[in-house]
């Protein structure tokens, strides 16, 4: 590729990014102007994570005086879900009720003077002062299972993702626990993957048959790409065990890494391949005989239709690309 062409395309990419940034900054300046006349910050803002008022006097009964009406019906769905089980001492309603997660609510439920702003709950509410890290700690105080033990140092933790960014605790069934709804949350941030899932060949995620967590462990697994299994190939073999072997005649790149040839989030090529055969194969195979011959449009049906190009191309003969257990299968065609 010509250097000039590359530079031009880099410049275009940078230009796009700069333009987008400029647009955002322009919009930001408007928003910032509206915020110039801010009053002096109240104490819960200045205290941040150290904001720790007293607990309320009567717990959830006090909360329900204001949040028990129809407008709060979406909040009260917590009583239909696993967090609202009083008989389970591990859950919020087996203990400090609303304040188990939202923090002590003495200030929020206490009396306020005329014209005063009502202090927020410390966590998980409008204007709550606790940081995302502190809020995450609230969740982790109870959710200590193994998969959550990897959170510290994981990619999501390092990128300041909060538990509440993905999970909804005020519902009977958290959408993150259902295959058909989970991906909507994930692709909210992973926009490229959302686009790839719509490509012609992809795993059945957009159809709701697979969840992102079938392959990934989003709470910070210490392996590559936070996969559910320790390695990429083990992850793939979970569903494609027939590819595992060991075979008599192996195809080394297959045993090494499935993503050498496949794009797991989607592709425009059948079988989610990175490229079309024969070019896919010719990236690695050039030898005496037919393997290295460059196939041209003369090999199309309009010319001299060639099996080396059309339909399955190389795999029309070498169909055992994942390995062969045939004693005569050294070239993966038996």
């Amino acid at each position: 590729m010509q250097i000039r062409q590359r530079l031009t395309e880099y410049a275009r990419g940078m230009g796009f990014a700069a333009a987008a940034l400029a647009v955002l900054l322009t919009m930001q300046s408007g928003a910032a102007a509206q915020e110039e006349d801010q009053e002096e910050a109240p104490r819960w803002v200045t205290l941040g994570d150290d904001y720790m008022p007293e607990y309320s006097r009567r717990g959830a009964d006090e909360c329900m005086r204001c949040h028990g009406d129809e407008d709060s019906a979406h909040l009260n769905a917590v009583f239909e879900g696993p967090h609202g089980v009083m008989a389970d001492e591990r859950t919020p309603f087996g203990g400090n009720q609303c304040e188990a997660c939202h923090g002590p609510g003495g200030d929020h439920t206490g009396r306020i003077g005329f014209g005063e702003a009502r202090p927020p709950m410390p966590a998980f509410g409008p204007n709550s002062p606790w940081s995302e890290e502190r809020e995450n700690q609230v969740c982790q105080d109870c959710h200590k299972e193994q998969k959550h033990g990897f959170w510290e140092g994981g990619t999501h933790q390092r990128q300041d993702v909060g538990c509440a960014d993905c999970h909804d605790s005020h519902v009977r069934r958290d959408p993150m626990t259902v295959a058909s709804t989970q991906s909507e949350t994930c692709v909210g941030c992973h926009t490229e993957q959302r686009a790839q899932l719509h490509q012609a060949y992809s795993h059945p995620i957009r159809q709701g048959e697979m969840a992102c967590s079938d392959c990934h462990q989003p709470h910070g697994a210490p392996n590559e790409a936070m996969l559910s299994s320790p390695t990429i190939n083990q992850n793939c073999y979970e569903c494609h065990a027939e590819k595992r072997g060991p075979f008599l005649f192996e195809h080394a790149p297959v045993a090494e890494d499935c993503t050498n040839c496949h794009k797991p989030h989607g592709s425009n090529n059948p079988a989610m391949l990175t490229r079309r055969a024969p070019l896919l194969c010719q990236q690695c195979h050039s030898r005496v005989g037919h393997a290295g011959i460059g196939r041209s449009p003369n090999d199309l049906p309009s010319g001299n239709p060639s099996p080396f190009l059309l339909s399955g191309s190389c795999t029309s003969c070498h169909s055992q690309v994942h390995g062969s257990n045939h004693p005569s299968g050294s070239i993966l065609n038996r």
């Binding site: 880099y10 990419g13 940078m14 987008a20 955002l24 919009m27 930001q28 915020e35 720790m52 607990y55 717990g59 959830a60 009964d61 028990g68 009083m86 389970d88 001492e89 309603f93 200590k144 193994q146 990897f150 510290e152 140092g153 069934r173 909210g188 959302r194 686009a195 159809q207 709701g208 697994a221 320790p230 390695t231 065990a241 027939e242 595992r244 060991p246 008599l248 192996e250 425009n268 079309r276 070019l279 010719q282 990236q283 195979h285 290295g292 041209s296 199309l300 049906p301 060639s306 099996p307 059309l310 339909s311 029309s316 003969c317 169909s319 055992q320 257990n325 045939h326 299968g329 038996r334």
Partner: protein
């Protein structure tokens, strides 16, 4: 090199590096930690409030829910056309009516016992049903059923009798010929064979936990796959595409015991995966005029295999200054399916086999470790170490090759492939200001392989990231990553018949640069925007034959808005381009060519959701997505004038809408509409009918270009 040597030579070096780095972190971090803890000790007592008097917290006003909650959905739908590609994974592949059934129910008792039932698409053959019961905080038992159908094509045709089975024969009166145009009985004997398969998984599991720090879990899954897949079957330079049988069963058993404390936890797990294939081989009659008596061919089917793995995982949060997490796994893959004969050609003498089966055995050893330290409030460090070994102990023998059941050639030794790879990476996150975070990381990867022309590759990766929220509503992230890979290539190991200039892309020396910038902006309190741009460029150095350059760029914008508590909307658009340059040669001493494959993707979507609107409209949604892709392949063969390849195109448009209205207190009516339009232009398949290619008897799969509409009417009964 044996395992111990490899471990000594490769694994310990990075491990020692990691340990040294961890020691460095500790050496720096622990004094800082001690100092901060000492400072903390001098400050007044914690500001934690007095624990509440829970005897007064009666929760009288809490709307606690016992009994059934949720809903059952039932009704019917209609699919306007047969359309395999549209029905793929959806179960909506056939024209006509279907039953629609869904369930989302929970039953709870006051003593924390519960029963949870969730099922989708139960009236279709792509469906899922999960049932879970137990006592929350003590134990749970779950049972799951998942069924997925995959429809690839419904226009494929074959003359073979027994298509989709392990024995495929030609019809009576078949006329053998050297090329398909001489197969005069082909057209009259073509029969339709849909290419499809189904995956059914039954899952049963139990978990015990509760107040005790011990956790126990056992889970067994049985997956059955049946149907067929396209597989090429060849004789010298003649091939036929077969609908090969899929009759697979995989049984997976996972069990674990864990000990969970506040600051640390340890879990020991044992995983077993057993794969069984009902078909050991696939036999077919040669539809071409066979030479040397090659009338029958045989392919080996994937052999039965087993995988056993013991895994230890754990984490320890000593304090905010030190967290450790990791997993160690030791596994073994085995395979001892009996070999088929080297040939089924009765005119040839079957060569002897050195053994009756491979007796294959591959040991896997995996270590993933991570240490994290918040050295100060503003400085955070992380070190990771990974080791992944595939030690193939399968016996190596010489096997006389019978090429495509046609003629006997020399002996070839199998090549049990082994590798080990290690990586160590260290990163530092520094909060420079409250609005600016900087991250720098460095990683080294080493990979050692056996029986390849490259035995060792070394990759260094450096990355820098800046994150800023200088303005309250705006978050910006920018990241640059540089990757350099070197190898110890020995071209002599490529072999005498391989082009000496070949450099395989996954071993080749390369430089890769990637830059990404993204921003999230809260335009208004209820309107959010995100943009990103990413460019990556891979330059495979020293490549005269093989993949020489690859490049990817993508740009995207997404918007989300909530107009009220009950109405939300989203939209996105993404552009992606992938380019690759591939250099080849028609033979090994010149005659080079240069090819490119450029793929361009444009994807967009918009959706609106609402709940509980006035007028008893309980729910509504409309979701539209459009995905278009263009692929251009070009080849320059020594400036020979040549027509261009047609453009590869896919266009996918999907609109899904639903509307739900309350009919009475517990009953809703749900109307649904789904329209899908998929079209493709693919010169690899278009106009390639079973007899189009003289030396390939294909299944004649064509690209789709159809539209299908699905309407449904359902009632939702709500338990409340």
């Amino acid at each position: 090199m044996n395992t111990i040597e490899r471990l000594t030579h490769n694994a310990w070096r990075p491990l020692l590096t990691a340990l040294a780095a961890t020691g460095l972190v500790l050496a720096v971090g622990l004094p800082v930690a001690a100092q901060e803890e000492a400072e903390a000790a001098e400050t007044p007592a914690s500001n934690a409030p007095e624990p509440p008097d829970l005897s007064r917290w009666q929760c009288w006003n809490c709307p606690l829910v016992y009994g059934w909650r949720g809903s059952v959905l039932f009704g019917a739908g209609y699919v306007s056309d047969d359309y395999a590609e549209f029905g793929n994974y959806r179960g909506l592949d056939q024209q006509g009516f279907y039953g629609a059934l869904g369930v989302d129910l929970t039953w709870r008792a006051e003593d924390a016992r519960y029963l949870d039932i969730y099922g989708e698409r139960l009236g279709l053959n792509s469906r899922t049903l999960d049932i879970e019961t137990g006592k929350q905080g003590s134990y749970k038992i779950f049972l799951g059923w998942d069924q997925i159908t995959q429809h690839r094509a419904d226009d494929t045709r074959t003359p073979f009798l027994g298509a989709g089975t392990s024995n495929q024969t030609l019809p009576e009166g078949w006329v053998l010929a050297g090329t398909t145009d001489g197969m005069t009985a082909l057209e009259e004997n073509l029969r339709g064979i849909d290419i499809e398969r189904e995956r059914r998984t039954l899952r049963l599991g139990v978990e015990f936990g509760g107040k005790s720090p011990w956790r126990y879990r056992a889970d067994v899954r049985r997956t059955t796959r049946d149907g067929n897949a396209i597989r090429g079957a060849s004789f010298i330079f003649r091939a036929a595409e077969l609908a090969a049988p899929i009759d697979y069963q995989t049984t997976r058993f996972d069990t674990s015991i864990a000990y969970v404390k506040d600051r640390w936890q340890l879990e020991a797990g044992y995983n077993v995966s057993l794969f069984e294939n009902d078909n050991q081989s696939l036999q077919w009659e040669n539809p071409f005029t066979g030479i040397f008596g090659a009338q029958l061919g045989q392919l080996a089917e994937p052999p039965d295999n087993q995988f056993h793995q013991f895994m230890l995982t754990g984490s320890w949060n000593q304090s905010r200054y030190l967290s450790l997490a990791g997993q160690v796994a030791m596994g073994r893959m085995t395979q001892d399916d009996a070999f088929v004969q080297p040939t089924v050609n009765l005119d040839l003498v079957n060569p002897g086999l050195p053994r009756a089966n491979l007796d294959g055995e591959v040991d896997t050893r995996i270590v993933n470790l991570r240490a994290t330290s918040n050295l100060t409030r503003n400085l955070r460090a992380r070190i990771q170490y990974r080791y992944d070994e595939r030690d193939n102990d399968s016996p190596r023998d010489f096997y006389t090759q019978v090429i495509t059941d046609t003629f006997v050639t020399g002996e070839v030794a199998n090549e049990p492939y082994s590798f080990d790879r290690t990586s160590v990476d260290a990163s530092l996150d520094y909060r420079v200001f409250s609005f600016l975070n900087l991250t720098a990381s460095a990683e080294r990867k080493e990979m050692d392989r056996t029986l390849q022309e490259v035995e060792e590759t070394t990759t260094d990766i450096y990355a820098f990231q800046a994150r800023t929220n200088l303005f309250e509503r705006l978050n910006v992230r920018a990241e640059y990553k540089r990757e350099q890979r070197d190898n110890d290539l020995d071209p002599a190991l490529l072999g005498p018949e391989v082009n000496p200039d070949l450099r395989r892309f996954h071993y080749a020396e390369k430089d890769r640069d990637a830059f990404r910038i993204s921003a999230d902006y809260a335009i208004l309190d209820n309107l959010f925007a995100g943009v990103f741009a990413e460019i990556a460029d891979e330059d495979f150095k020293d490549v005269l034959i093989g993949l020489s350059d690859a490049r990817a760029e993508s740009y995207g914008l997404d918007l989300s808005a909530s107009f009220s508590q009950n109405v939300s909307a989203h939209a996105f658009v993404v552009f992606e381009r992938l380019e690759a340059d591939i250099r080849g040669a028609d033979n090994i001493d010149g005659a080079t060519w240069f090819a490119t494959q450029d793929d361009e993707f444009r994807t967009a979507g918009v959706g609106v959701n609402f709940d509980d609107l006035p007028g008893k409209w309980a729910h509504g949604a409309i979701d539209l997505s459009y995905a278009a892709a263009d692929g251009d392949i070009a080849i320059d063969k020594r400036s020979t004038a040549s027509p261009e390849f047609p453009r590869l195109k896919t266009r996918r448009f999907t609109l899904e809408a639903s509307l739900e209205r309350e009919l009475r207190e517990n009953l809703n009516l749900r109307l649904g509409y789904l329209v899908g339009k998929l079209s493709e232009d693919d010169f690899f398949r278009d106009n390639v009918l079973p007899g189009t290619v003289p030396t390939l008897l294909s299944l004649g799969e064509q690209t789709p270009d159809r539209t299908v509409h699905v309407v449904s009417a359902m009632l939702r009964y709500r338990f409340q």
